[in-house]
């Protein structure tokens, strides 16, 4: 390519002060050259014609910044990957095309504006919602990173599901021994504030500055005075009469109670649903609980209290609910005596459970037992997901019951034994050799539990009936009640299985779809304790990254609302995949700059053109289009193809064509957009108007869009534009939407070649016919 | 001699052998009750003098357990242990004290089965050797 000619050509444009060539502009030396020229000549725009901006835009922007020029005053013309390297056989034409690319960049440079970063302060505190093992771990790690954490738990004690377990697989460690010290650590940590017996009511604000409204339910016990002596619980008239949820309602408590003896905080609570005073208005002559309480902590005047808590980031660790086995009529849960679920089993066998570890069903010790896996998991209809921990907990429970029944038969009905963790397989092998009968069955094959004499019988296809006194249903996990409320309150999505959706299942599994909101533990999907702990630490890492920043900075360009044009239809807010548009209590849409990622999807959707993306406004786009199509017409009337490429899948695939030296038709040119979702119908029409013989919109694969759903919207717009083209008599096949990913260089070439071929077959558009006529 | 229940002391290093003992516990690997463990940070902390003292106090057998050579948490603490106890057991032999009463062995943090086996084997060995009556024997000899 004739670089000197290009330089000369560029010099001829009126707005150009100087042009220079350099063997390596990206080198220190090259950068210094640019910096010196900026200072000496007072340049206010810089155009670099070099390699792909994906490679060195950052480098040059930094150079501009060092020379005290706003980095957004840079414009790059990609004359290497997208010109020199893809037209290696036609150097002459390539030079001509480069000239046109440079001209377009120059034109665009004149229209762009310096953009300023907007900042907002970060509230240096975090909230963890849910005080199970994941929430506790997340809170501890954030606190260890030096930040204040509010650990909000809806129950009177932290601990969650893990506190209910007797032993954990595969080590048979006692669950309490592992968890309770962590609970104590959390309570003791100077950076952690426990907010128990409280519900999240509302979440406002954005990354760095959330305000969470939390409702503290009345405990009717003054926590400052309560010493945890338990006298109130002992004296309560309802003592031993209220089913204890912590024991899966298999044990009893009073109205004044703590869920379990190792509760943290060790503060009693009076249950308004069973307290006689609260439900009936009277409780004997005197309040026995209040009388028994020496420190005078009982306080029936307590009211629910709403508090606003300001935090910079949030971790959702709300856990899971057990699948309700009553939905499986064939299995008799809740109807047949001796059919229990996995958690019932844990409570019944646990030393601190209602039976104090003396496992029995209605006073009878079982002699035979069956375990049924996948209850409420991997269903054809309903819960499709695997609950991940049931195989192992049933193996653990089978082992525990086998220890007790000795020679008695124990069978496990399973489908696939998913013993995938460290030492899991070894544990499973060991359990099998203990004489436990593992019976494989297909998921949809019939399985029924019926009463037989005093006991039960398990009838399963392909196996002889199995008599058992005890049948344990290995129920799976379902999204916790309240997941829907939280996902609405925080405007974060859920996946099809109902659990909170992660921002990317592989690459950022601890990030939710909302900036500043992270996921830990089973709230994101079922997982076992080590995986929950690991994810909790991961969420803590992300939270700490945000809290360690002094300010959240916007990454320009970010969308702007032109208030005078805004009709407050809030279309923008609905299409924004990032919740970056504030709508509550405003008469016009308002962009939260620190949350806006600059995809421009909203700007293309606004019916009133009231929201714009700076430097990608109509004027910027159209000027560039004009130059690309007109400033340097292709010789001999060859067709001109213009591609609106998103900056991710499409532009990178185009670059890869260059890196791989794939030949592209020389008449093909690219207009770079942040996202294909930024494409506006009028720009497409404008391209045709300006003489493009083929117009392509290339975005990421649907669902794989860097900005979540931009490429889908682009597809819709292209369809709409095609309709319009049809109406004005232009062959609609001149315009086409494509979806690619960044590694698809060959495919990229193919679609460009095909489009060029199509344009050639169709001949010039009417515009040119008119001109030529 | 069959109902002789020896009294055995084991020195375990914190990182490998003590962890192996814990793992054996987690794995519920049954072992004789004769062995009691004193935890030290490294087997290199164990002075042969401790063993002398234990024998003098009537302990029937002493185990010294560390990390495998090459795996020492302290790089080479166990190298020293190995050398010390090799020479020390020779000395015991010269003195007429059966060197089988002390045993130096290795168990990594993962070797629960091996650990339980060492404990069981050693207890058997000591049972065969009978009680530590060196002091008593001496009294008989001089009487």
């Amino acid at each position: 390519m004739d670089v000197d000619r290009l330089s000369e050509q560029a010099r001829s444009y009126p707005e150009v002060v100087l042009t220079k060539t350099h063997p390596f502009l990206c080198s220190e030396e090259g950068q210094t050259l640019i910096q010196n020229d900026i200072k000496e000549n007072g340049l206010d725009r810089v155009v670099v014609a070099a390699c792909s901006p994906k490679l060195h835009e950052r480098t040059f922007k930094r150079a501009l910044e060092e020379a005290e020029l706003n980095p957004h005053c840079l414009e790059m013309a990609n004359i290497r990957e997208q010109c020199a390297w893809v037209h290696m056989k036609e150097p002459e034409k390539a030079t001509a095309k480069a000239g046109s690319l440079i001209a377009a960049s120059l034109a665009r440079a004149s229209t762009i504006e310096p953009l300023e970063i907007e900042e907002s302060e970060v509230t240096k505190a975090a909230m963890v919602i849910g005080g199970g093992v994941a929430g506790i771990q997340a809170a501890l790690d954030i606190a260890d990173n030096g930040f204040k954490v509010y650990l909000v738990e809806k129950e009177p004690s932290i601990g969650g599901k893990m506190a209910q377990l007797d032993k954990t697989f595969p080590t048979l460690d006692c669950s309490a021994c592992i968890l309770t010290p962590k609970m104590v650590d959390a309570a003791r940590h100077p950076n952690i504030e426990l907010v128990t017996y409280a519900d999240v009511k509302e979440v406002k604000g954005s990354i760095g500055n959330f305000t969470v409204k939390v409702l503290k339910k009345p405990r009717y016990i003054d926590v400052d005075k309560c010493v945890g002596c338990g006298n109130c619980a002992e004296e309560c008239r309802m003592a031993g009469r209220v089913p204890n949820e912590f024991d899966e309602n298999l044990g009893k408590r009073g109205a004044a109670y703590i869920p379990f003896p190792q509760a943290v905080p060790l503060k009693y609570v009076i249950d308004p649903n069973s307290c006689l005073l609260i439900t009936k208005g009277v409780c004997g002559k005197t309040l026995k609980c209040a009388d028994a309480c020496k420190p005078g902590a009982v306080d029936f005047d307590q009211k629910p209290e709403e508090v606003d808590i300001d935090v910079g980031a949030i971790v959702i660790a709300t856990g899971y609910d057990l699948y309700d086995a009553k939905l499986k009529k064939d299995l008799g849960y809740g109807e047949l005596e001796g059919v229990i679920n996995g958690m019932d089993f844990e409570r019944l066998i646990c030393a601190n459970g209602p039976l104090e570890g003396d496992f029995s069903i209605n006073g009878k010790k079982p002699t035979t037992a069956a375990f049924i896996s996948c209850v409420g998991s991997r269903e054809k209809d309903g819960n499709h997901h695997c609950s991940r921990f049931c195989c192992m907990y049933s193996a653990k429970q089978a082992h525990m019951i086998k220890e007790r029944v000795g020679d008695g038969n124990v069978a496990v009905y399973y489908t696939d034994m998913r013993a995938f963790g460290k030492d899991f397989e070894e544990f499973f092998v060991r359990v099998k050799t203990e004489g436990i009968d593992y019976r494989r069955r297909e998921l949809d094959s019939e399985l029924k539990i019926e009463k037989k004499g005093e006991g039960l019988v398990v009838k399963a296809n392909g196996y002889p009936d199995f008599d058992a006194d005890l049948v344990v249903l290995s129920v799976g996990a379902t999204p916790v009640e309240g997941t829907g409320f939280l996902s609405n309150a925080m405007r974060i999505e859920r996946s099809p299985d109902g659990f909170f959706k992660e921002s990317h299942p592989v690459l950022s599994p601890a990030d939710s779809m909302g900036p500043g909101i992270f996921l830990a533990g089973c709230a994101q999907g079922p997982k076992d304790i080590p995986d929950s702990v690991a994810q909790a630490s991961a969420a803590a890492a992300k939270v700490s990254e945000i809290l360690s920043m002094d300010k959240i900075e916007s990454d320009p360009p970010t969308a702007n609302v032109i208030r005078s044009k805004c009709a407050a239809c809030l279309t923008c807010s609905r299409v924004c995949p990032y919740n970056a548009i504030e709508t509550s209590g405003v008469t016009f849409a308002q962009v939260i700059p620190t949350q806006c990622v600059g995809c421009g999807i909203c700007t293309a959707s606004c019916p009133g053109e009231a929201i714009v993306l700076p430097n990608f406004e109509d004027m910027n786009v159209e000027t560039t289009l004009e130059k690309l199509l007109a400033s340097n017409p292709t010789p001999s009337g060859e067709q001109q193809i213009i591609a609106f490429c998103c900056d991710h899948g499409a532009y990178e695939a185009a670059d890869l064509c260059g890196t791989m030296r794939l030949d592209l038709p020389v008449q093909f040119k690219i207009l770079r957009l942040p996202c294909s979702g930024k494409v506006e119908v009028q720009h497409l029409l404008r391209a045709v108007e300006l003489g493009a013989d083929g117009v392509m919109v290339i975005g990421c694969k649907d669902g794989n869009c860097h900005y979540r759903n931009g490429s889908e919207r682009a597809g819709n717009r292209v369809a709409a534009a095609k309709e319009l083209l049809k109406e004005i008599g232009v062959d609609e096949s001149r315009l086409e939407m494509f979806n690619l990913s960044s590694s698809l260089a060959e495919e990229f070439r193919e679609i460009v070649v095909n489009m060029t071929e199509r344009a050639r077959t169709l001949g010039p558009t009417f515009q040119k016919r008119e001109v030529s006529a | 001699m069959t109902d002789f229940e020896p009294n055995i002391l084991a020195f375990c290093c914190n990182w490998c052998s003590y962890a192996a003992a814990d793992l054996a516990g987690i794995g519920r690997m049954k072992q004789p009750t004769n062995v009691k463990i004193v935890r030290v940070m490294c087997s290199g902390r164990v002075k042969p003098e401790f063993v002398i003292k234990a024998l003098a106090d009537g302990v029937d057998g002493v185990l010294i357990l560390g990390c495998h050579i090459g795996d020492c948490h302290y790089v080479s603490g166990n190298h020293r242990t190995k050398k010390r106890f090799e020479i020390f057991s020779k000395l015991l032999g010269h003195m007429g004290i059966d060197p089988r009463r002390i045993r130096l062995d290795w168990a990594s943090a993962a070797e629960a089965i091996e650990f339980a086996k060492i404990i069981t084997d050693f207890t058997e060995t000591i049972k065969e050797l009978g009680p530590n009556n060196y002091a008593g024997k001496h009294e008989r000899a001089t009487a």
């Binding site: - | 003098e49 002398i52 090459g70 080479s76 050398k83 003195m95 007429g96």
Partner: protein, 260 residues
């Protein structure tokens, strides 16, 4: 031989190789170590009887660290000095050795394997004694017999600590054998040979076979036999010869060779 010795020493003084010479002095029928200076009359200087002169050198060097000292030594003395040097108790750089080879009689008396120093100035080198009947006898015994034999010997021990004090390579300021924690004080005869086991273990990498302990022992316990047996093991197992190379580190403080 004494004359020969005095001549050698005179030569050292004359060539200013040393400032003082440590040797034995015969004074009114008693022999004691003495530090001769250039001006002193050397006629009282004698080379006999055996004396673990290293201890004296260590004391002198601690007081006069920069003085060039000549030391009159036998084979065992040299080994003592080397072991002391390994333990930072003497500085061989400031020492000039005057070596005396023991006579055959001396060697037999000590059953000494190496009755001569590396460099012999005085006397004729005689072959060392490599056999020890006592060791052979004990080697034939079974465990119980050995134990009985040694207990019979240790029974005589009255914990006078003579062996400890006489030992030239016992350098601890604080001897754990005197601590109740390790060896019960005030108990005779010892119930269990803690005292002797600990002492034997401590001598494994530093007993230079000088016989001072046995000479000091009023009960004639054959301590050297035991130490010699264990010293042999050290040689066999670690290839370590006590008292030969000042740069060789004692085997119990180094890492295993095969592991680097």
């Amino acid at each position: 031989m004494n004359e020969q010795l005095r001549e050698v020493v005179k030569g050292l003084f004359a060539r200013d190789e040393v400032e003082v010479v440590v040797s034995l002095k015969l004074n009114e029928g008693c022999v004691a170590p003495h530090m001769y200076s250039k001006e002193d009359d050397l006629s009282s200087m004698v080379h006999s009887p055996k004396y673990p002169i290293g201890i004296v050198v260590s004391m002198i060097q601690k007081k006069y660290p920069d003085t060039k000292i000549g030391v009159v030594i036998r084979g065992c003395d040299e080994r003592i000095l080397i072991e002391l040097a390994k333990r930072n108790q003497v500085n061989l750089d400031n020492i000039v050795l005057v070596g005396i080879a023991c006579t055959e009689e001396d060697a037999k008396d000590c059953l000494c394997e190496t009755p001569f120093p590396t460099k012999i100035d005085i006397g004729e080198k005689v072959e060392g004694i490599t056999t020890d009947e006592n060791i052979e006898k004990i080697s034939q015994m079974d465990m119980d017999e050995r134990f009985d034999y040694w207990m019979g010997q240790f029974d005589k021990c009255m914990k006078c600590y003579g062996c400890v004090y006489a030992c030239p390579t016992c350098i601890c300021e604080n001897c754990i054998l005197e601590e109740d924690m390790w060896v019960k004080t005030g108990e005779l005869p010892p119930e269990f040979p803690s005292f002797h086991l600990i002492r034997a273990y401590h001598s494994t990498d530093r007993c230079v076979d000088c016989h001072e302990c046995e000479r000091a022992c009023p009960a004639h316990i054959p301590l050297v036999t035991l130490y010699r047996m264990i010293r042999k093991d050290v040689e066999d197992m670690f290839g370590y010869k006590i008292g030969t190379d000042v740069n060789e580190k004692p085997p119990l403080v180094t890492v295993l060779e095969e592991e680097g």
